[in-house]
């Protein structure tokens, strides 16, 4: 049986991992569209790293407090708490600093990334227990996805996708023309908070399932590719999500077929797609 045939078989051993990967590929770009439109792509690097630091911090706290509960559910819950907590604190602090506007946004995001990357390593180094499990979670070992974690992921990311579609007109207006939104009586701060909540949840679950690298890759690269191919908002989001899901499937196939690490393969496929689309666009612009 070919690798593709095996992957499409209902008895495929890594079926949950494949579905989890496609789910992340589908939903992360829907959130990532707003990273691109609001020109906060670097936040897409810093937040997954911050989320990973949160996972490491949660495990370190457990070790230091001497509370060693075992079992997949307990560890996943701990990771969720740490990941969400750090992502939200980071978002709140960055949003508050943005209002004060003392430094440039790039500087703040750069400092956040440096802090998060250093903190992740230090928290791992300081944790005397469970380093192996935590390393899996930090790397986002998607291959270890189980039926339970897939159901949780599908529920959470499904809710995020539904919210993004249902609240599309509010989120778009506040992102495109904040002053117009305020004149029309919209509570721009509230809608920013809703968007940040959806971003935080997506990143946290993305990082726990697939790791910071893949989460960042899916947040940013498919929307950038879709931006080159579309001229409507609706098709922009739909194409970004479709590209993300297709990238996840092709990346999984290549990683399985060629025995490559899944995360970097996914990101590589996404970037090759971006380069091909950008090249074709440049070629068309030159010939027309």
């Amino acid at each position: 049986m070919t690798a593709l045939g095996e992957m499409l078989s209902p008895d495929f051993l890594l079926r949950d991992a494949l579905l989890g990967s496609i789910l992340i590929g589908l939903v992360c770009p829907l959130v990532g569209v707003y990273f691109v439109l609001r020109r906060m792509i670097f936040l897409g690097v810093a937040l997954p790293q911050l989320s990973a630091a949160g996972v490491a911090f949660a495990f370190l706290s457990r070790s230091l407090l001497g509370a060693h509960r075992h079992g997949e559910s307990a560890e996943r819950l701990l990771a969720i708490v740490g990941s969400l907590g750090f992502a939200f604190v980071g978002l709140v602090v960055l949003a508050a600093l943005e209002r004060q506007g003392r430094e440039t946004l790039e500087a703040r995001i750069g400092v956040t990334y440096a802090f998060a990357a250093a903190a992740s390593i230090l928290f791992v180094a300081a944790d005397p227990y469970g380093e192996a499990e935590m390393t899996h979670l930090l790397k986002g070992d998607i291959v270890t996805t189980t039926g339970t974690s897939l159901r949780l992921l599908a529920g959470v990311l499904g809710a995020v996708a539904v919210a993004l579609v249902a609240l599309r007109k509010e989120l778009l207006l506040v992102s495109f023309d904040r002053e117009m939104a305020l004149v029309l009586g919209k509570r721009a701060g509230f809608w920013d908070a809703v968007l940040y909540l959806l971003i935080g949840v997506t990143i946290s679950f993305g990082v726990m399932t697939a790791g910071p690298l893949v989460t960042f890759g899916f947040l940013v690269v498919p929307p950038l590719t879709a931006r080159l191919m579309t001229r409507h908002m609706l098709t922009f989001s739909a194409v970004a999500a479709g590209l993300g899901a297709a990238t996840a499937f092709v990346g999984f196939y290549l990683a399985y077929r060629l025995d490559l690490p899944l995360g970097p393969t996914d990101v590589g496929v996404a970037i090759v797609t971006l380069l091909i689309v950008a090249g074709l666009r440049a070629l068309r612009a030159r010939t027309s």
């Binding site: 439109l37 609240l167 007109k169 004149v183 001229r231």
Partner: protein, 240 residues
Amino acid sequence: MTTASLHLSGVSLGYAGRTVLRDVSFVIERGEFVALIGPNGAGKTTLFRGMLGLISPFGGRIDYGFDRRASPPGYVPQKESLDPIFPLTAYEVVLMAAAARVPPLWPVGRRRRGLAAECLAAVGLAQSAEQPFWALSGGQKQRVLIARALAVEPEILLLDEPTAGVDLGAEAAIVDVIARLNRERELTVVLVSHHLRLVRQLVRSVIRVADGSATKGSSDDLLSAQRIAETFGAAADGGS
């Protein structure tokens, strides 16, 4: 029943505790066409933002002669203030404002979609509805933004330098649209402009912003050569 569209009484405006304009009082009547003029840095934008409700007055009152929730002001920003990264057609830009009147989670119905198309037609751009917004000329973009402002079904239209950076033909088209909306729909119009020639052609009332305050008067008075020289300094020739 009052005929005032906008009433400012003893208003002070500014930013971060710094007062830019003090004790501003005037009334803009319904259906009036008013220009806001003044030198750079005098506080035109501050007053404009205060009238839109984007900044709260430090003191005094701003009263609207209409229900702001039912009929919010039609705001037309400068086209440069919007980011070209958004993939939007002209119709989508207008629809965004029409859709803003629909409560969250409710779909945008046929009436709102029809309204967006009507507003585009009202500014003479029905044929450009499916064009990418950013591919339009400067004058067309500005007319799309006027259509967007109309899509909220406003009682008052506030425009920030609508003819800035467009050629003479586009300027004429924009001015024609604004004047027609004021005349035919009896929309109250407040226009920020540096183009005194244009202001002279269009309006009978002027709000002059200078010396930390704002006063309203007739265009004949506030646009006289002497008053222009007082407002803009000796360099102004009154015809730019």
